[in-house]
């Protein structure tokens, strides 16, 4: 399970006892059709005392699902989760969790919210009050004890989330994208304060597991970074980071590590151990093998224009930083550009292809035609829709037809999302139209000027 990449970091084995262990955890769910769809596929992970581990992945990598399996909130389909060696069958007794959207009870004050976990443990009221006030002080909310969550800003609400989790003195702290609902400055502030606490004496927790889609956050905080691939979530790589804290974002080692991770995450699909990679011709890929990235045409066009203004080539991490885009925002657009052959990615660098340059330079009508040609040939679902519509006599088909096909491999929502993206692309390229009232897809004939 050690994927130590040669030439960057020396081998690093974490010391300390194992607090949490996930052993060959897999999670499936069944489509409306009855087929099993994997969300997580054979992931194993161990959290030792004294370390911070980051789970990094794009959306669809199952990282939040994995975290919830470890927290004991959902059950893995196969595999076990253990706390200090004992398998759990219910909420994990040794952890506390901090949520992305804070999960505070709106009808309780800051102090009452902080005491929730203590009261559930049966701590007597006097001691519970004392511990809660001490933690509120430590976390920087002194003076706000009687405030209600709706009176607080996002950053302060998350501080309450931290106070509530830490006051029960958990063995391990689990964090589910804790800073992604906050603005950049507040997030940076909280991150730094958390790391200060971690380095200090008063910190009761022995290990932290953080889920994030922000590569720089992972590198700044973690000792080990666990990268998951998408759909289904599989182990892709494990990176170790031994830089001393506090870590400087501008340091060359920091940037090198970020680059390396960008490179890993923009690679093509990771095969299962032992399987051979087969390169699938874009012309032959099915809509379910190569799903459409969740990107609108506008977003794609915007990225290509930015690239063009930079001279046709840019460094991905640098691009992300400048746009303040995180991996979840940037990589889908990059995927779409690659799919349509408008850009190429190599070694965390992105470069416009001649077709991409032509798309950027064209006026609106010509660019629509270029886009239509590219999508009809290289975007599998759009190609499938156009071909199917061409074969029917009245050039219309119900959306149900495609949804049923998509639901064989995707969940109901994802199938709907895929179709919506295809409709967005098809409408932009004037390949076909969609009538929401009766759910009909209609092929546009070449001399069709007005929509029906």
């Amino acid at each position: 399970m050690t994927g130590a990449v040669p030439g960057v970091m020396p081998s690093y084995e974490p010391t300390g006892n194992v607090i949490l262990g996930a052993d060959h955890v897999a999670r499936q769910f069944t489509t409306p059709d009855g087929r099993p769809l994997p969300v997580l596929d054979d992931v194993s992970l161990q959290l030792h005392e004294g370390e911070i581990v980051a789970l990094l992945g794009k959306s669809g990598s199952g990282k939040s699902t994995l975290l919830r399996c470890i927290a004991g909130l959902i059950a893995p389909t196969t595999g076990t989760v253990s706390y200090r060696g004992t398998p759990i069958n219910g909420a994990n007794p040794g952890v506390a969790m901090v949520f992305q959207s804070f999960a505070l009870l709106p009808w309780l004050t800051v102090q009452a919210n902080t005491e929730v976990g203590l009261q559930a443990l049966g701590v007597p009221p006097a001691e519970s009050r004392k511990r809660a006030l001490a933690m509120i002080d430590l976390i920087g909310l002194d003076g706000f004890e009687q405030a209600y969550p709706r009176e607080l800003s996002g950053g302060m609400r998350q501080r309450v989330g931290f106070a509530r989790a830490l006051v029960v003195q958990p063995d391990a702290l689990l964090m589910d994208e804790p800073f992604s609902a906050l603005d950049v400055l507040t997030a940076e502030n909280l991150r730094t304060e958390l790391l200060n606490l971690w380095g200090g004496r008063d910190f009761p927790t022995k290990a932290i597991l953080i889920v994030t889609h922000n590569i720089e956050e992972a590198v700044q905080m973690a000792d080990r970074i666990f990268v998951l691939s998408s759909s289904p979530g599989r182990f892709k790589a494990e990176i170790h980071c031994e830089l001393p804290r506090p870590r400087d974002r501008r340091a060359p080692e920091f940037e090198a590590l970020v680059d390396q991770i960008y490179g890993i995450m923009t690679e093509q699909v990771t095969p299962k151990a032992g399987q051979q990679t087969t390169v699938v011709e874009p012309g032959l890929a099915s809509p379910t093998e190569h799903p459409l990235p969740h990107v609108s045409v506008g977003g794609l066009a915007g990225l290509l224009e930015i690239l063009s203004s930079r001279g046709g080539r840019d460094d991905l991490p640098e691009l992300g930083r400048r746009l303040t885009f995180e991996v979840d925002d940037l990589l889908p657009i990059v995927d779409a550009a690659e799919m349509l052959h408008f850009a190429e990615v190599a070694d965390a660098d992105i470069e416009l292809t001649p077709e991409g340059q032509a798309f950027v330079d064209a006026d609106i009508l010509a660019s629509k035609e270029l886009f239509a040609a590219a999508a009809a040939e290289r975007a599998p679902l759009v190609r499938a829709i156009v071909r199917a519509l061409e074969t029917t006599t009245d050039r219309t088909l119900s959306e149900r037809f495609f949804l049923d096909l998509l639901q064989r491999a995707f969940s109901e929502e994802e199938a709907r999302a895929q179709l919506d993206i295809a409709i967005n692309w098809g409408r932009y390229g004037e390949l076909f139209d969609y009538r929401a009232d009766d759910g009909e897809l209609i092929l546009t004939s070449p001399d069709d000027d007005t929509a029906n």
Binding site: G90, A91, N92, P93, F99, F102, A103, L105, W107
Partner: protein, 583 residues
Amino acid sequence: MEDFSPMASTRSFPTRGALRRPRFSPVDIVVFAAIAVVLFGILRLAHAMNSSSATAHVAVISTRPGELPYYALRSLLRMFIAFFLSVAFTFVYATAAARSRRARVVLIPVLDILQSVPVLGFLAITITFFIALFPGSELGLECASIFAIFTSMAWNMTFSMYHSLVTQPEELDEAARMFRLTKWERFWRLDVPSSMIGLVWNGMMSFGGGWFFLAASEAISVGDKHYTLPGIGSYVQAGVDKGDMGEVGIAIVVMVIMVVGVNVLFWRPLVAYSEKFRVETSEAAEQPKSHVLSLLRQSRVPGYIARPLRPVARGLDRATRPFGLAEYPLRTPRRKRTAGDVVFAGATGAVILWGIYRGAVYFDHTAGYGQFTRCLGLGFLTFLRVAVVVLVSTVVWVPVGAKIGMSPRLSRYAQPVVQVLASFPAILLFPFAIVIFLDLGISLDYGGVLLMALGAQWYILFNVIAGASAIPTELREMAEEFRFPWKQKWRELILPGIFPYYVTGGITAAGGAWNASIVAEIATYGRHHLAASGLGSYIAQATTRGDFADVLTGIIVMSFYVVVVNRLLWRPLYHLAETRYSL
């Protein structure tokens, strides 16, 4: 999440989502049969317990106005006991339905069909049961009346709480499980507060509807016995019997004072207080205000009351620990689950079939199946009356309601007024209407429509006001700027905008009209007896005769009509409203 209407003080009744039902499934038929069997069972039980010597202590109602305050208090007490029973029922039932997958399959259809059974029909059956339970005292009558009021309040509140529990924000549920709250702690710290807003609002409106059934259940004739309870409803009935309309008038004034008083002193402060439990993290655009609540908050009294209660709460926390965490084991062995399901289904199925068999035998011996066909025909006449009530109310009140709703100032004053109108038991006004009918020679076949409308029409007005006030201002401004002609404005903006709320109001109004038909299709004034041909009068007359087989037949057919019309008409409209027309 709770409803997203921008103005917190103008909500629909019932609240959004409380009318959502799963699609029709065979379970509904089974449940319908089961409830019919249960009603039949109660009837037989009552007969078995009944002996000719068992009588209830019947109060003698004096019509001196000086007795009115005492009667008013008795009525009020009945209402509140029924309300607290409803709350307790809601807590238990909604939690069970929301938490247990197996229970939900049965519990929700049961609730839905119970909601379709006419409340006063319940009364006719249960009154003999309760009297037999407490022979010789007034307690049986009180229980029957309280039970009738309870059945008018409980179902809406339960659906509202069920909907709140099922749409609870997932992260709050995860936090509660992760911090290992016990079942008791989770219920009081998370479940009840997150359902509070819906509970209070639906409770307030259901309580208002309960006044009607209070008045109707305080004086009732079953067989050759005439039962009365001390209360305002029976006071009015006594006055009508004597022909003294002046006393009836005084009683009505006292009723109005009571309805408004309970509203201002109890419900408005509760609604304002429940704003504390809003799950959206920003403040609502318009906070409902209550002077009573502000007074209470400024005084020290709540503090004095709370201080001795805190250790009690902590003691309960500790005492309920052994009941376990608010958790469910993530893995249950698959075989155990299906075995339990099979046993459960088998046992209930067997009981229901046996009950149907016994019921069929009973009907064969007593009323005969011909009564069912007769009831179906009469039910159609009543259905026509209900349809007229809904249609005329729509034509009259939708324009008015839309106009009021689009003016924030008007709607702030109008909604409380309409709420009182909807709460006031229209049955107290029936004597006046009947006098007019007798004078003008109007048959109750047509006059009954007016009587049914007196109570039911306000729900359409109330909900349309709420819907119009929920139309986003920017859409209205857009219509202004583009100078929509009024026809277009109505067709493309207002009617689609209020459609979901209208459907909610229509369902409620129709339900109210069906319920009212039992007391609106038959009337006695002095020596005059008026009767319309319809299912309501059939049930009422069967009750007076003491002919319980007929009563049961009538109730089953009326429930059948309500359920069928709901499934065929209202639910698809509601589904259309929620998908195509929701903003």
